[in-house]
Amino acid sequence: MGDVLVRVPISEQDPKVRATNFEEVCLGYTEEEAVEEAGRCLNCKKPMCVGGCPVSINIPAFIEQVKERNFERAYEIISESSALPAVCGRVCPQESQCEGKCIRGIKGEAVAIGKLERFVADWARENGIKPKNTSTPNGHKVAVIGSGPSGLTAAGDLAKLGYDVTVFEALHEMGGVLVYGIPEFRLPKDKVVKAEVENVKALGVKFEKNVIIGRSITIDELMEKEGFEAVFIGSGAGLPMFMHIPGEQANGVFSANEYLTRNNLMKAFKEGYDTPIARGKKVVVVGGGNVAMDAARTALRLGAEVHVVYRRSEAELPARAEEVHHAKEEGVIFDLLQNPVEILVNEEGSVRGCRVIKMELGEPDASGRRRPVEIPGSEYEIECDTVIMSLGTSPNPLISSTTVGLETNKKGCLIATEQGATTKDAVFAGGDAVTGAATVILAMGAGKTAAAAIDEYFKTK
């Protein structure tokens, strides 16, 4: 037994090796390691950790079962609250959620709740255990738009309540950001995402790909012509932002969404796939969030020297600490307190560099973070052949602009109550489409709440 204040360490691929491949970075706990780490949980009477989890997984109860080696029972406990544990265990910002509240964290290191959740979910998959649906069909048809975490969760929960659910997805794969955004080395697509989608299928949910709501068919038509009595919109926030600086239309300037979609969804990195990607020799990634880290680490794996240019300091980086740490280990270079003012273009119309200005931190702004201020006369040039803009995203107006009575706020987000009710009768929404870009688990939480609200709607109709 090790020191109870310290976590059981987890094995990872060596940084030098993993910087050249797309295999998963974190290798996960073995049974022995998981049982040992579970032993650190105090099984608190008033577990603070549960309050930090947006879907309120009964954390002490599942960890107790891990301790006893009842992994199947542990999986059942998690499944009561979460449809995607293998995903959340990997990508939740645990340090600010469940683990951030864990009592163990006061004196030492918090219990590795996420890693244990991942262990249980992986164990269940490897042992062929699937979630069960014991409900009897109630005959009501519900449409779910989008197959990201919010849509998958709402669909799974509604199916468990007996509804006849169909998920409509615009792309040719199910999973939303889980398939097109988050890279393979953090979240394996076939092994984890596909398997979790299969689990939702096992609950009886139907999936239809290549259907763009607002173009292929509208929400009103789904309700009037195809007999859907209620709709959940989980269409995410996929619209990329640009900086609107000179040179931004040049060849070699990409949105992080394009770069990641080419690589993750279209598998440009894999031999035998047709979609091309600009590999780049020297790449500048603009931004400091999770998306920027993913773009940077992808470009690195494709063979480039990568610089992350971010306008605030390290303390303000919005990305998860673990991602920043991994990126640094792999060799991503951080150029902090700087911001591009122009993209330099050669005579063929391709990027040849970036003009950057240095910044210093001023007074805190509305978000509470210190505002970056330009230092006059500090401009200099970085040579590069690729620039990836990772400045955030907003919801796509395709659905709101084609649905009568569905209102949005000035940021383009759908207006919805805490329960997910939109301004249109029988239409609910949740996830990034309502909040703007957020996290997987918040989107799942919203899907869950909305499923309950939809059930309530049918009961009181």
């Binding site: 792309l171 790909k209 796509n396």
Partner: protein
């Protein structure tokens, strides 16, 4: 899967396919496009909707082989099926909206189609014919053997003019010169639609600007998702950045920055060149001879 119910070779490098895709056929309008993906490994290829049959649930596409993916598509036959076929995408043509029909009827409309652009012009002219609007159509091609859809177009256009660069058929000259000749002979037009290669649309726009004819063009930049999610298709129109897949594909041709659009279309030239060579050379391709720039 989306079965190919008919395939036809229209000319040396141009193919027509009728594909079963009931959801697309149910609501599409002229001017919109689809994205097709051959199989698991395939690219997402945007193609304009050239015709549709709502009762049969089919969409007609016409494509020219230009690179690895379209070459691979041309190898498919009746009975094969596409893994993915999504649409309709983009905005319908402004001319083909029932609401504005009365206004449209008052216009003298001329279409200029270049090369494979004949295909996307056809459904618009057909729709206008069905709604009682008269049109003039100019089809331009390099030479006679790559002209297609002549009979189909004749059946729906009120006036049809054919132009070949080499003079092998119809008017000797390109579409621009044919338009100039018609204007010189006293014809009056107050609306032009030009669809074809970017370079052709650019020159049509230079001419129509001079002639004072408002002109709509259909832009075909590189695309990935076609839903507004990636920004690959961005164009400068006036002083705004537009996404062709959701804001277009049709734009005011006098405001489009064609030079920038043409530079952007070359983005993957070397990458695609390599993909094509690899496909043609099959197992003998090793990336070492330097023809393709090497695999890395």
């Amino acid at each position: 899967m989306y079965p190919i119910v008919k395939k036809e070779k229209l000319s040396d490098k141009i193919f027509l396919m009728v594909v079963k895709a009931p959801r697309v056929a149910a609501g599409c309008l002229p001017g919109q496009f689809i994205i097709v993906k051959i199989d698991e490994e395939g690219e997402r290829i945007p193609l304009t909707i050239c015709d549709y049959d709502r009762a049969e649930g089919t969409i007609t596409i016409v494509f020219q082989t230009v690179g690895a993916s379209t070459e691979r598509m041309a190898l498919l036959n009746e009975g094969d099926a596409f893994a993915d076929f999504v649409g309709p995408l983009g905005q319908p043509s402004e001319l083909c909206l029932e609401e504005d029909l009365e206004e449209t009827k008052k216009k003298n409309i001329v279409f200029i189609a270049g090369g494979v652009g004949t295909a996307p012009v056809y459904p618009q002219v057909k729709w206008l014919k069905e709604h009682g609007v008269k049109t003039t159509v100019i089809i331009g091609a390099r030479s006679k053997d790559i002209l297609f859809y002549e009979d189909e177009m004749r059946a729906v256009a009120d006036e049809l003019y054919l132009a070949t660069d080499d003079g092998s058929y119809g008017f000797h000259g390109n579409g621009c010169q044919q338009l100039q000749a018609l204007v010189d002979s006293g014809k009056k037009y107050d609306h032009c639609v030009a669809i074809g290669p970017m370079i052709m649309m650019k020159f049509v726009c230079l001419l129509t600007k001079e002639l004072g004819i408002p002109t709509v063009v259909s832009m075909n930049p590189i695309m990935v998702d076609g839903t507004g999610m990636c920004g690959a298709c961005r164009l400068v129109v006036g002083d705004e950045v537009k996404f062709a897949c959701v804001d277009g594909p049709e734009f005011d041709g006098h405001l489009v920055d064609f030079d920038q659009a043409m530079a952007r279309a070359k983005q993957y030239k070397t990458e695609e060149g390599r993909a094509l060579l690899k496909q043609q050379e099959g197992d003998t391709h090793h990336g070492g001879c330097g023809h393709c720039g090497g695999d890395k």
